[in-house]
Symmetry: C2
Subunit: 209 residues, 2 copies
């Protein structure tokens, strides 16, 4: 049988968008199944038992001769889809350097830039808990630091790793290009702005819904 | 010239230990350079300019014919060192599944299990800021959830990905086996306990200092 790919996602999540963008760039079709994380639809007993015991989206479902298999973690799903493509450089250093930026994205960027977007643009400041409100200043500082590090790199390089677009660019583009929804002023980061323009110009690029 | 590897580290950091363990398992020698993160030694102008603009350890320095290159992010450094070894499975699914657990480690495990160890065992509860103390309950819950997910997986599998030890096991072993220092009771996770015994028995295993 041929391989079929299903993306379990919430359309507002840019972690899910990374996978749609990767699939578009490598020419793979995805069937999309939507869940509303604000309604707890990824924490139901059915979701935890059948899709992801970690209760999170995205999850890439791969159906092939080996059966149905489920791959959580956005950057791992991008890795699976991009296998054998130029989005993963073959050079040993460039590949590790690409992963370096992808781990940076999940550790230093997403918990700050993505979380503030979710809290401020989708939950709404008036609906946040006191514990969430108390975390905003630290996430603001850490998010600006992540953007500043990207700005520094992009002031000297067109792409994050190797000599062209890789999964590192896709992973970092996802939440960076909508960072203004989290209260970050991208106008303060001109090199990031030029890189966003470059990413949008990649043949096959698709926008966030 | 032959390749020389230098690890810029803080010996108390299990993120740095991941790299030492990987190097030991693949038979690579590392020169170790120590910094004290509690004294801000990774935030000096010299460190930011020459080692890592992100102000963090570990950083793997690789000196070869291409010059001196610096690789931050513990899991990316492990990837570089393990290139071509059995610690990175060749199978497409197993490789992506291994990365899935490594991203899980950095997103869902390390910020909770490692941070509570650092705060409680190295900074000391009396020296924490009010903002840090306010985060302890949420990090406790998220850390227990990460350990529970590992327990669930290890109740049915000997290793995290593929059919043997991979970088996913090394990445997760680092802070899990010292989780008690952060107030986590590993006695509640018997499958994790058996897996810790398996990891310690890997030929070439070296302990945390």
């Amino acid at each position: 049988m041929s391989t079929r790919f299903t993306l379990h996602e919430d359309p507002i999540s840019a972690n899910c968008y990374k996978i749609r963008l990767t699939a578009a760039l490598v020419g793979v079709e995805l069937t999309r199944v939507a869940y509303d994380i604000r309604r707890g639809q990824t924490r139901t007993p059915e979701f935890l038992a059948n899709i992801n015991a970690n209760g999170r989206i995205p999850v890439l479902q791969v159906d092939d001769a080996a059966g149905s298999r489920f791959l959580p973690e956005s950057n791992a799903a991008c890795w699976y889809l991009a296998h054998g493509s130029a989005l993963i450089p073959a050079d040993r250093w460039a590949q590790a350097d690409m992963l370096r930026w992808m781990f940076f994205e999940q550790y230093s960027h997403e918990p700050n830039v993505a979380t503030l977007r979710f809290w401020l643009a989708f939950v709404g400041e008036s609906a946040l808990t006191p514990a969430q409100i108390a975390q905003i200043p630290a996430k603001r500082i850490a998010g600006e630091a992540a953007l500043a590090l990207m700005e520094q790199h992009l002031s000297a390089h067109d792409w994050f790793a190797g000599n062209g677009v890789t999964l590192a660019d896709i992973a970092l583009f996802a939440y960076t290009h909508v960072a203004d929804a989290g209260g970050f002023d991208l106008g303060a980061y001109p090199a990031i702005g030029r890189w966003i323009t470059r990413v949008r110009a990649i043949p096959g690029f698709v926008p966030l819904d």
